[in-house]
């Protein structure tokens, strides 16, 4: 046994030469004003935004750019201001939002009806999953030609495609959410004697709210995109409508500052819905309940 013991390398003892006194460095120091300012997130992002706008303005002024193809930022901003004042922009926004809200509500109500049916019976669940598997990959906008055939040019066709874009996204996401509700929560509900619709609304909906909200968000994103696309097609098929139609019409007439003004409006609406509405719903529900950080 003693043969196998390994020799351990023993480091010889040594003594460090005398340490010099440390030169005095700042152990703690206030950040300079610029550092403190540039640490504010909003300031940095706002600067970037200003920088981008400046680049746009300078590029379109100095570069040899045809203003009909690419207007300056100032022209676009002026047009946006004027259309806001004259009420033209608000009118267009209202037309688009009206259709969107109508389609969104109808889509969500239909999805809820399908879901209640799916929760209560196995055949309903099969029906729903087959329908969503079929229609979820189908872009709602591709139904627009048929909708125009069935309902004519006008609001009903737009509402039809908007419903289509909301319904399946919401139904799919909510259904998966319901499926993942834990057995414990379900048993609590059954213990209280809940069945049918009260069971759905008092147990399944709160438990699956995170997925429902995801579904509503995806549905909104699809609906907004579909609506703008549908209005563009309508423009081509000479109907009339909201923001999408304004973009199409002004683009066709080479009124490009108007196109950019309308694009700004589309972005602003998107930001408001996503960051104000959905964000607040999220904060006051799933985040407050501790389901999502």
């Amino acid at each position: 046994m003693t043969d196998t013991t390994t020799d351990i390398y023993i480091r010889p003892e040594f003594e460090v030469s005398k340490l010099e006194t440390a030169t005095n460095v700042d152990v703690e120091r206030r950040l300079s004003l610029i550092e403190r300012i540039s640490n504010i997130n909003a300031v940095r992002k706002f600067t970037i935004l200003l920088g981008l706008v400046a680049i746009w303005e300078i590029y379109t002024r100095i570069g040899d750019v045809e203003p009909l193809l690419f207007p300056t930022f100032s022209d676009s901003a002026v047009v946006l201001w004027e259309t806001l004042l004259s009420g033209l922009m608000l009118e267009k926004v209202w037309v688009s939002l009206y259709v969107l809200v109508l389609g969104y509500i109808a889509g969500v109500v239909l999805a809820a009806a399908f879901l209640v049916f799916a929760v209560m019976s196995r055949i309903g669940s099969d029906f729903l999953s087959t329908m969503t598997a079929m229609f979820q990959p189908l872009p709602a906008i591709s139904l627009l030609p048929l909708a125009m055939l069935w309902f004519g040019l006008g609001v009903p066709s737009l509402v039809f495609v908007t419903i289509h874009s909301v319904l399946w996204a919401v139904a799919l996401s909510t259904h998966t959410g319901f499926m993942q509700v834990s057995e414990t929560l379900r048993m609590v509900g059954r213990n209280y004697g809940l069945r049918g619709i009260p069971y759905v609304f008092m147990i399944l909906v709160p438990a699956a709210f995170a997925s429902i909200l995801t579904g509503l968000k995806v549905g909104w994103a699809f609906a907004w995109r579909t609506l703008i696309g549908a209005e563009l097609v309508f423009g081509a098929a000479s109907g009339e409508g909201g923001l999408g139609w304004m973009i199409y019409e002004k683009g066709d007439n080479l009124d490009t500052p108007y196109v950019f003004a309308a694009l700004f409006a589309v972005i602003v609406i998107g930001l408001i819905v996503e960051n104000l509405i959905f964000r607040n719903v999220e904060i006051s529900t799933v985040q407050k309940w501790g389901m999502q950080r």
Partner: protein, 306 residues
Amino acid sequence: MSDHAVQPYLREEFEGDEIGEAVVGDVERRLSVWERISNIDAVRKFSVLITLVVAWELYSRIGDINELMFPTFSATGTALYSALVYEGLMTNVWNSLSLLLMGYAIGVGIAAVLVVFGVWTRFGSDLLTTLTAMLNPLPAIALLPMAMLWFGLGPAAIVFTLLHSIIWPVALNTHSGFMGVSETQRMVGRNYGLRGLPYIYKILIPAAFPSILTGLRIGWAFAWRTLIAAELVFGGQVADTSGQLGAEGGNAGGLGWIIFQNQMENQTPYVFAGLFAVILVGIILENGIFRNIEDRTIRRWGMQVA
């Protein structure tokens, strides 16, 4: 105090009637053939599908429906068959898919560059978040009129809009995925001396793969919808100016174009056939490709359970 003492209710003793012989049903029983068949998921879903088809066929045959408004299922089936065999529907599918793939590849490339830049510097990160916050809520299709002005009626305009529909969701999801990578994993990477690109490929990408995949899926969904919409607008544009289709002429358009054109010519069965083709492509991409990637990566790595 003693006034408030609760008097327990004492139930009186009682003796039950004699309990009769219990009727014990089948404790264990093989399910009948019918029950076993209806327990197979595929069978149930397939029968739902068949019922829907039969309902469609009956409704459009018996109901007083104009054939041009709502064709029978059989007419649609025949149209799909003849479109596939005689009218080169596959060419249209390929035209759409090749545009989609081109846009997707370039878009993901640009998103990757933006995200790498965003990971390296604080300025890049700020630029990325500002750009995505601004441009993600903008439907890509809204840029099509400008793209048509800049690039003319043609594939370039469509690819431009597709790029826009892909870059922002992919960049947004990847960036937020990278931000959520735990400090422990980052420190492991730094411990190995990884910096720059190797750090991104070996640490950040595997750790953030679920969000990256989500981004890729959303990007695909938006791109597919944008492509179909763009082709529809093109159809409208051509019908509007009643001009020649130019590069898109003959059999060169994509699926959206086929749907629009057949609707204009009142060939409703062919419109339905086009819709079927769109659904099939969607199902194949969604379930065939993304599902497989998911199975091979995040599910195998145990990052996603369901």
